[in-house]
């Protein structure tokens, strides 16, 4: 799937002028070919990526942009081959621990100097997620919040309000269960959804710093604080808070439970909103709240997975790659590609404006004002890959057979000692 952009450039000349300001000095110098391999293969993101490539191509007359879009799932394994043999200049990937294999193998270019030179103004707050060994290895281009999406209409019918504490949460859930519904829908067939629950319960029970220490392998899984997290989780499981047979469903297959009103809420990333709307729920029926506080006084940490661009270590056209990253990170482009016409997510540039959407606005407010604990990426991005896969399997087992907890924790602890 390869397309070369040279035609239709004139139509985009207007936006070029808008976006070009800061990059004006670099314009004349760029020539040759800029090769981009992207995993933005879903229809919406694909259009965004193709738009970016076409526009960047039009901005630089002597440069031709060659874009290869790879299926998002396939890319997770293909990136290895792509980077090691005849690498393109710019690739898509994910932040945090997911970068580690490529950073360690020297396949991503160290772009700390570009950050220090002020290329990416407005991105300072997200620099940490792209940092490893004190060097910076890429730039983010979008992120999204996680949280509880719930059926506002059912909450109103039952006389419930958004819970802020764990007691309120449990009380709410009891009312919902008594009304014959499940509090939460979830589909754990592909495991990661259970990782989201663990992230939140652990960050709320023990705090963000403990959560990250666990991710770094500094705390044993058999620690009493970890058990406290699972004990809280078990309260919800035992009261029938989750839908039955969730181990058989994918996250999409779990959506109808919420759409049909058999479950009232879903702990999920913001990408679920689109699906819920497509399923027929209106914005009057849907609302969002931040995961409630469990241990009072702990600053709240949030999951906000970040998608990224990196320059390959073997890039041929480094100047063009640098200009492209600058362009993508600029406030104007950030506002546009994360807007409702684009990805419908949060822009990474602090100077960009956030789309006028109920959920994106709430997410932005939450992450900028109420996430003092810190921003985590997600279970399968913060933990090393091997630990993440064993871990998520254990989390799924716990959700189905909570009594197996001791066995599960012993297994995870054995894996921790081997992996780190």
């Amino acid at each position: 799937m390869r397309s070369i952009f040279k035609t239709g450039a004139a139509a985009l000349a207007m936006t070029t002028i808008l976006a070009g300001g800061a990059l004006a000095d670099a314009h004349g110098a760029l020539s040759g070919t800029l090769r981009i391999s992207s995993d933005m293969s879903n229809p919406g993101p694909r259009a965004v990526m193709e738009g970016l490539a076409a526009e960047f191509d039009a901005m630089h007359p002597d440069l031709s942009v060659e874009l290869t879009v790879v299926d998002r799932e396939a890319w997770k394994t293909q990136i290895r081959n792509v980077l090691s043999a005849n690498p393109p200049d710019v690739v898509n990937w994910y932040a945090a621990n997911r970068m580690a294999p490529f950073v360690n193998a020297g396949l991503f270019m160290d772009i700390t100097d570009w950050w220090d030179a002020g290329d990416f103004e407005g991105l300072e707050s997200v620099r940490g997620a792209l940092t490893q060994d004190d060097r910076v290895w890429g730039i983010p281009y979008t992120y999204y919040q996680w949280g509880v999406y719930y059926r506002e209409d059912i909450f109103n019918e039952l006389g419930l309000s958004e819970p802020a504490t764990w007691e309120e949460e449990l009380a709410n859930c009891q009312v919902i269960v008594d009304s014959g519904r499940a509090c939460y829908t979830i589909g754990t067939k592909f495991l990661w959804t259970a990782g989201g629950w663990f992230d939140y319960l652990n960050m709320r029970t023990n705090g963000f710093d403990f959560h990250m220490a666990l991710a770094r392998g500094e705390v044993p899984w058999t620690d009493d604080r970890v058990r406290a997290t699972f004990a809280n989780w078990r309260q919800l499981i035992d009261m029938g808070g989750f839908i039955a047979d969730h181990q058989t469903y994918s996250w999409q297959e779990a959506l109808p439970f919420m759409i049909n009103g058999e479950a009232t809420a879903y702990l999920m990333g913001n990408f679920a909103v689109d699906q819920l709307r497509n399923g027929g729920l209106t914005d009057d029926q849907l609302d969002f709240y931040q995961f409630p506080v469990i241990t009072p006084g702990l600053p709240q940490g949030e999951d906000a997975p970040t998608d990224t661009f990196h320059v390959a270590a073997g890039a041929q056209n480094v100047d063009a790659a640098r200009a492209f990253l600058q362009y993508v990170a600029s406030a104007e482009v950030q506002t546009r590609i994360n807007g409702p016409e684009g990805l419908g997510q949060l822009p990474v540039n602090a100077n960009a404006s956030v789309a006028d959407d109920e959920f994106i606005q709430q997410g932005f407010e939450m992450l900028s004002q109420n996430a003092q604990g810190g921003i985590a990426q997600f279970f399968d991005r913060d933990w090393p890959a091997e630990m993440a896969s064993i871990g998520m399997e254990g989390l799924q087992e716990f959700m189905v057979f909570p009594d197996n907890l001791d066995d599960i924790l012993a297994r995870l602890e054995a894996a921790r000692q081997r992996v780190y």
Partner: protein, 306 residues
């Protein structure tokens, strides 16, 4: 004398034509087989002695991967699941035989019935997996609808770690039975009617007829059915991937699936460990390969010596 001189003047090529020609014809195939089949086997053996993420430096760790396998519970589960697959998949042979016997008659429209029974074999494994996972769905599935009509509780086969593997094997048996059936149908065409007649005169009927007269004549078909069923059982990867993705919590993995997860899956890239699993799987297959080769060699020899 003349023959001797002519032999002396003949080129090496002319003298050895009978040996060289077949070798030349076989050579392209042999080269490809060596490069793409034989050498990867030895490469796997080699890689299984290293710790390697597929990108950086490979580190030699001796038999450490195998030591880890010995204590890996997921490996043990996968191994037992492979045994379950191998044993239960063989049910396809008797099932196929009985359907073939049942369909081996001349009534109106028998061709249609035969094609209907053969139909599942035409479907891709992926489609079979999807159809069965819908069939097993805990609430909407046909299976549970049937159970509820009979007044029984619902069962989530693919969500139950004790049942899921059997559920997948049942799905796999559907097309495999059709395959064995078609093998036996062709075999039954070759059954000698005179022997059947002779058997009948001697008073054989029913089970005795089947066991002593029909089955011995179906031996070649049975052998092929056995071979394809064993191969099918070891190739269960696609069904597992579609129906449970190895879950719930890894209870439906088999060795090939576990190998894929460890070596090439999203959270894997432990090439050495994956190779160690592949080596174990290869050794299991080697038992069957050796048996098949020996069987074929024996048949071949019997045919040649009468």
């Amino acid at each position: 004398m003349t023959t001797n001189t002519s032999r002396g003047t003949a080129t090496w090529m002319q003298r050895n034509r009978m040996t060289v020609t077949p070798i030349l014809f076989l050579l392209p195939g042999l080269i490809f087989f060596a490069v793409y089949v034989i050498s990867p086997i030895f490469q796997s053996f080699n890689i299984s002695l290293y710790q390697w993420d597929g990108l950086g430096e490979a580190r030699y760790i001796g038999l450490e991967n195998y030591r880890e396998l010995a204590t890996d519970r997921n490996f043990e589960i996968s191994l037992w699941n492979n045994v379950r697959w191998l044993l239960l998949y063989l049910l396809a042979i008797p099932l196929g035989l009985f359907i073939a016997l049942f369909l081996n008659q001349t009534v109106v429209g028998i061709r249609l019935y035969k094609s209907l029974f053969f139909f599942p074999f035409v479907l891709s494994q992926v489609v079979v997996g999807l159809v069965f996972s819908w069939f097993y769905l805990p609430r909407e599935g046909l299976l549970n609808a049937g159970l509820q009509m009979l007044g029984m509780g619902s069962v989530n086969i693919l969500g139950d770690p004790d049942l899921a593997t059997y559920g997948i094997i049942a799905a796999g048996l559907w097309p495999q039975t059709a395959y064995c059936m078609i093998l036996y149908l062709t075999g039954l065409n070759a059954v000698d009617p005179e022997q059947v007649e002779a058997g009948r005169l001697d008073g054989a009927k029913g089970w005795k007829m089947l066991w002593y007269v029909i089955l011995p004549q179906l031996k070649p078909a049975t052998f092929i059915a056995f071979v394809v069923t064993i191969i099918g059982a070891l190739r269960s990867f696609d069904l597992i991937s579609i129906m449970t993705n190895g879950g719930p919590f890894g209870s439906t993995r088999v060795l090939s699936f576990y190998m894929f997860e460890q070596a090439l899956g999203e959270y894997g890239f432990r090439m050495g460990y994956g190779s160690a699993i592949a080596v174990v799987l290869f050794l299991i297959m080697l038992v069957f390969i050796a048996y098949f080769l020996w069987q074929m060699w024996r048949d071949d020899r019997a045919a040649r010596h009468g």
